[in-house]
């Protein structure tokens, strides 16, 4: 509780500036059996997302005649946390699975897959702060890798408040000892918010500034997502034209 999260120069414990992201790396197509997959390393987070589908719906009564249903599971392996996580599915995992599903659904063109199920599984091999945003960012890339028709990618990043300052991309220590965390996900090309959560304490002006930071973070993650997909499909970093943005 008495850790100083910022030094006199407003540099964070891991050396980052206030608006600086942790190192992020995305590998596409890491799970051979899956229809699409991605591994994201986001700070110490290591998360694999894999997509199976479109496939038949089980149990059948969940079938929608005019569109696909999306199943989402955010799950942590027992070794992913500092203290071993109990293997049973927690209430936290249930809630996060739900908000991630509702963050991805707006981006998927569900009407293109009537009577189908699209299954998105996110496995946290190692967790750090911001795992839900990292997981959904990987899931969005995995959906693209699976060839699912999408309106846009979904890019997630949290902003928050630590040591009295608004910062981008809260890590584990900052999450535990900081003052606020605002996980956010957007469809970057469309400029729409698909996930928004907040816990902590923010005045209205801090709220507005934190939200602004979060959007900037999402845009940075989006850039990395696109590069990863370009890399996979064209064997190169994304080149020149950024005209779609």
């Amino acid at each position: 509780m008495t850790t100083t999260l910022l030094n006199a120069d407003k540099i964070r414990l891991d050396g980052r500036k206030l608006d600086e992201l942790r190192p992020v790396k995305i590998d596409v197509g890491v799970i051979k059996n899956a229809d699409g997959s991605a591994l994201i390393e986001f700070g110490k987070n290591k998360i694999i997302a894999a997509v199976y589908g479109p496939k038949e719906v089980h149990p059948r009564h969940l079938t929608k005649p005019d569109r696909a249903i999306v199943k989402c599971r955010y799950h942590m392996t027992p070794f992913s946390t500092d203290t071993r996580k109990n293997p049973s599915f927690s209430r936290r995992e249930i809630e996060i699975s739900k908000v991630i599903r509702q963050a991805l659904e707006p981006a998927i063109i569900l009407e293109d897959y009537p009577r189908s199920s699209i299954e998105v599984y996110m496995e946290v091999l190692q967790s750090d702060g911001g795992s839900r945003c990292a997981a959904l960012s990987a899931a969005s890339v995995a959906l693209a890798d699976a060839g699912i028709n999408m309106r846009d990618l979904v890019a997630g990043c949290a902003a928050g408040k630590i040591g009295g300052e608004i910062v981008l991309d809260i890590d584990d220590t900052e999450d535990k000892e900081g003052e606020a965390d605002m996980p956010t996900a957007i469809m970057p090309s469309l400029g729409l918010v698909t996930l928004f959560q907040l816990d902590g304490k923010l005045s209205e002006s801090e709220f507005q500034k934190t939200f602004e930071f979060a959007i900037k973070g999402c845009m940075k993650v989006y850039q990395i997502q696109r590069e990863a997909l370009m890399n996979k499909y064209f064997g190169q970093s994304e080149p020149m034209q950024e005209s779609t943005e």
Partner: protein
């Protein structure tokens, strides 16, 4: 499935009516876009609880019961009392509520409610310790939805805040041999701020406050924001499979803060007077 079919019927009939109304700045139930339903709060409804309240928000009805009991602290927070929040949408509450363990919706309700209490620092958990590392007070907050007509996050927060504000806790002392004695007199639980939730829905591009079940079935997305007595934002949760624009989020923060002031006033009146209707 019945829920699905109902939604379909609503879609073809009521939704076009709703659209018409929204363009006039009105809603199907006659409310203005940002008008809350009639709210009434009654405290002390469960004598066996340490604190309790029943909230009616339109046709939604919720009871929250708080119990303060002896407990053991978590190893990593030996000098903090405990908070456990659960929520159940009882099967009496609607034709779509199923008996059984809490589903995804009920778990989300419990977790968002928990965050409101915890992040607002409404309770001072460092004062809920009898002996560090060994004996603390556990605060259980259990939310039961009796009738579901939407607005559960909001109604639950009003019920919880009212229950905790009027709650008593036991007084235990530790004998020399380490045994606990629970004294006869109780103390106030002491609440430091009143975190209240405000939920907005986006329907056909318009934002409405305090959506009911029918409106929820039509909405694209939902945003809940929780503010404390100082107007600070302590929790937030987007729901639904739709989206918000950046500007909508910004604007809703402003609106939420305003609405919180009125609602906290109603709750404060209730706590002082025992029951309150707006």
């Amino acid at each position: 499935m019945s829920a699905v079919r109902k939604a379909v019927v609503v879609g073809t009939l009521r939704k076009s009516q709703m659209k018409e109304q929204l363009e006039k700045g009105k809603r199907l139930d006659g409310r203005d876009l940002l008008q809350q339903r009639k709210l009434s709060i009654e405290t002390g409804v469960i004598e066996k609880a340490s604190g309790s309240a029943r909230v009616r928000l339109g046709d939604t009805e919720i009871v929250a019961g708080a119990k303060v009991e002896m407990g053991r602290p978590f190893p990593d927070t030996p000098d903090q009392g405990l908070l456990i929040v659960t929520a159940e949408v009882l099967p009496i509450a609607s034709a779509y509520a199923e008996p059984g363990p809490p589903n995804e919706e009920a778990i989300e309700l419990a977790r968002v409610s928990d965050r409101g209490i915890r992040e607002s620092e409404m309770l001072d958990f460092s004062k809920l310790v009898i002996k560090k590392g060994e004996h603390v007070y556990s605060v259980f907050v259990d939310v039961a939805v009796l009738n579901d007509d939407g607005g559960l996050f909001d109604a639950a927060s009003y019920a919880i805040v009212s229950a905790l504000s009027t709650a008593k806790r036991p007084n235990a002392t530790l004998a020399e041999d380490g045994s606990l004695t629970v004294l006869d007199e109780t103390s106030d639980l002491e609440v430091k701020t009143l975190p209240v939730a405000t939920t907005f829905a986006k329907i056909d591009g318009k934002i409405v406050f305090d959506p009911n079940t029918e409106e929820q079935s039509m909405m694209d997305a939902r945003l809940t924001l929780v503010t404390d007595s100082e107007g600070k934002f302590v929790a937030g949760q987007k729901g639904g499979s739709g989206v918000f624009t950046f500007e909508e989020i910004r604007e809703l923060a402003r609106t939420s803060a305003e609405r919180g002031i009125e609602i906290r006033k109603a709750i404060r009146d209730t706590i002082e007077n025992g029951s309150q209707k707006t």
